[in-house]
Symmetry: C2
DNA sequence: TGTACATCAGTGAACGCGCGTTCACTGATGTAC
DNA sequence: TGTACATCAGTGAACGCGCGTTCACTGATGTAC
């Protein structure tokens, strides 16, 4: 890994160090100095690759959104086999991402960084979101015409439910433990919700 | 307010200063020194009333949970006029609380403080949660027997949905803007969810 | 009512710490001849 | 293939800052006589 004076790929090594720290301590617990130390490098070296602390954090989030978008796209699977299955899969993917990439997740959703200050970040974030919105819109086609709520609304509902489940029940958070796994909780919640939309039979 | 050498009610003044700071900067932006300054007092004076920074933060959260529990209890209204109405009211109350008491809310849900380290805090937090659970359980009585999901599950769903709506759509957060107000979003979401439970007519 | 005194809520100076950031520098790498 | 040199990724020391916390202290308050 360490090959003498020059590091080789310090940039990515710093991102990964930041990731580990963020996963462990949350986005506010991450510091440039600690990340540098974890990468076996002087804090000043960071400035060869990033404009500063916030820029490093933004890069972590950017990579997170990219992974997230890819995961969502994969789960969506072009709306196959059915619009419904695809939609449900994206909901599950949200939670799977939060579990598998906690550092990225926290950088993205708990760091309070300003998307508008990083246009490239905003772009890739929008791309991730649009997958779910596409799935919602496609699903909306299958609903009885008159009583369709706007698709942007129920993509927001699923997004919010998923986010809430992660924040409250996947962390040790103050929302308290529940006897259910986050996965079961979300699965059941989405099921009930889709039944409410008339997209699942009521007796299931 | 300032009556010479002694402050009068420094303890509560510090809590309120912390509240303002937390509302503005989030729980990590709040510092003991700034709170002391806002209360026109030396940082050292804080130690007459609190064990330290974390203890002050915990007191903010404690007062928050107390207000929250009272608000929920009021919204629940002993399950009147109907179990359904009471349940919906508690959902709305969650969001109303987040909007009206942003400092308390952030201290409670975004500060990452450990409930187990503050037993009294855990107690009052549990009290707040139990109101929603009571409402869910009572509502559960009105459901067809066989297909009742556990009431603890759908209180968790509503809790998660409410939390997600607040985090993603009430802040400028990266969850993106939606064309709907958080209130409308939550209202509609709970409506669809309750329909999914068979507690609202499907054609509404 | 007036004085002596105990209490205790505040002051102000000081501390050690880790932070992000800067700067002049050094020495490894890779290219030109 | 060997040497001279430009490049540039890293070092190491230093900075100013605000933080939480401590300590000996002071002076306002309120009580006992």
């Amino acid at each position: 890994m360490k090959q003498g004076y020059h590091h080789g790929n310090l940039r990515q090594a710093l991102v990964e160090a930041a990731l580990v720290l963020t996963a462990k301590l949350g986005p506010t617990g991450f510091t440039l100095s600690e990340a540098a130390k974890a990468a076996d490098v002087t804090p000043a070296a960071v400035y060869r690759h990033f404009a500063g602390r916030d820029d490093l954090m933004a890069e972590v989030a950017r990579q997170g959104y990219a992974i997230f978008a890819a995961l969502m796209e994969f789960a969506y699977n072009n709306g196959q086999p059915t619009a419904l299955a695809a939609f449900e899969a994206t909901g599950r993917a949200y939670l799977a991402f939060a579990r598998k990439y906690p550092g990225h997740y926290k950088a993205m959703f708990e760091s309070g960084l300003n998307l508008n200050a990083h246009p490239d970040l905003a772009l890739v974030a929008q791309k991730a979101r649009s997958v779910l919105e596409k799935a919602a819109e496609q699903l909306s086609q299958h609903m009885p015409q008159g009583k369709r709520p706007p698709s942007s609304m129920f993509s927001a509902h699923i997004w919010a439910l998923s986010h809430g489940v992660v924040e409250l029940y996947m962390r040790g958070a103050p929302g308290a433990q529940s006897p259910f796994t986050p996965e079961d909780l979300l699965e059941a919640g989405i099921g009930i919700y889709l039944r409410g939309l008339g997209l699942l039979p009521p007796d299931l």
